[in-house]
Symmetry: C2
DNA sequence: TCAAAAGTGTTCCTTCTACACCCATGT
DNA sequence: ACATGGGTGTAGAAGGAACACTTTTGA
């Protein structure tokens, strides 16, 4: 239970919205608290910067170390009284190659049908999804949800899952190739009785600017 | 002097970057601290939400009540030790019709040549300017820097001041009219020996969405 | 030879950019 | 009549959306 500070300052609480993609669904990590599902949370460490504390919360919830992390917004809520400052983050964890959920199936919930949450948690989840969708349009965040190598069809279906709407195959490929963010590998993925797909890799050095996140924020 | 909390939580500090436009220059409000110029700052009140405290800081610095306020980012800094959480805001205060600076000329500094600031303050100012410029492109924030009525030339020169680059008159007018955000008044401004300018008013109900600011943030 | 996903171009339309002259007024 | 800022249109370029068939493979 987070307690407010007692020397005249409000307490500070961190919450993280963790997204991953699994089997064509966008999933959100929720822990089971005393009063139902909640976002992974914690208080900032006194020895580390805020981002490091947020990353630690993600690690604790998922046992995954490398993540994309982005600060969302800071809000003040009346609970616990009198006021608590909640700094919210969004984290993206990439689909593991195997596709298993690390045996933590209870943690992940379909983003389209989250269980009842506190008012604050629900707002933060909704906002995270809004930001994630908006960011697909002008950044390359989607790569952080995919394994290191992937096919264009896989990339497209990640986009479609997040936006929950179909995209045109030719337009999608033209744009993503033109952006210069992809690098073809020599490998092909041959699975199933059909033409094998070219495998691509993300080129981090071609990762564009964001305008949303300040220059000093450390990305992944 | 902001002190850290003593019960294991970091202290919280608010800083506001106040912009206004005056005589074709973009100005930033800076107070004179013991160690040179600083951003207006304060600690969050225990009885009000964060935004209200930020607004109070702006009021104290400028004696202006109605402002556009937008949260920028929350960062953690090592000073004062061990860590302080700094929640930063950007506020826009509108040019007063008279064009005077309310007798607080010492407060306002040209944004193009701010005096030396602390590392944190400088980062926050730079980021605020980045955000303000980016937002000109897809929102109507500029109206918050203008008096309630204005001519298209005044609006354009506000844009040019912020972007510090000239804009094409015809393209600018076409876009801003097409956006539907303006409402013509019956008045004309006749000043100087030339054709009088049509006066426009901002239509708040046509104010578009932001995507940057969460839905629950209260705008102006 | 069939089923299944991979891969590939063109047309249309909308939007952005560049650019120059006439208008209404005060002195 | 002239100086001053207000106001207007068009053509070319670029970018986004819609749309269907051929290719390569495994079974």
């Amino acid at each position: 239970m987070t307690m407010p500070s007692h020397d005249g300052l409000p307490g500070v609480d961190l919450r993280a919205v963790l997204f991953t993609i699994h089997d064509g669904s966008l999933l959100v990590a929720l822990t089971e608290g005393e009063v139902g599902a909640r976002l992974p949370r914690g208080v900032p460490s006194l020895t580390d910067p805020l981002d490091a504390s947020a990353r630690q919360i993600v690690r604790t919830a998922t046992a995954v170390h490398e993540q994309y992390l982005e600060q969302l917004y800071t809000l003040s809520v009346r609970e616990p009284a009198p006021w608590t400052i909640v700094v919210s983050y969004m984290a993206l964890v990439s689909t593991t190659s195997g596709g298993s959920l690390d045996g933590r199936e209870g943690l992940w919930h379909n983003a389209a049908e989250v269980p009842p949450l506190s008012e604050t948690d629900r707002m933060v989840v909704d906002y995270a999804l809004l930001r994630l969708r908006a960011k697909l349009g002008y950044t390359n965040v989607a790569f952080h949800l995919l394994p290191p190598t992937f096919t264009l069809t896989e990339l497209q279906s990640a986009y479609e899952t997040i936006l929950s709407r179909p995209l045109d195959k030719r337009n999608f490929r033209r744009r993503v190739i033109a952006s210069g963010i992809l690098e073809q590998t020599a490998d092909k993925r041959r699975e199933g009785s059909h033409r094998p797909a070219t495998i691509y890799r993300f080129r981090p050095e071609a990762d564009g600017e964001t305008y949303l996140t300040p220059p000093w924020a450390e990305g992944a």
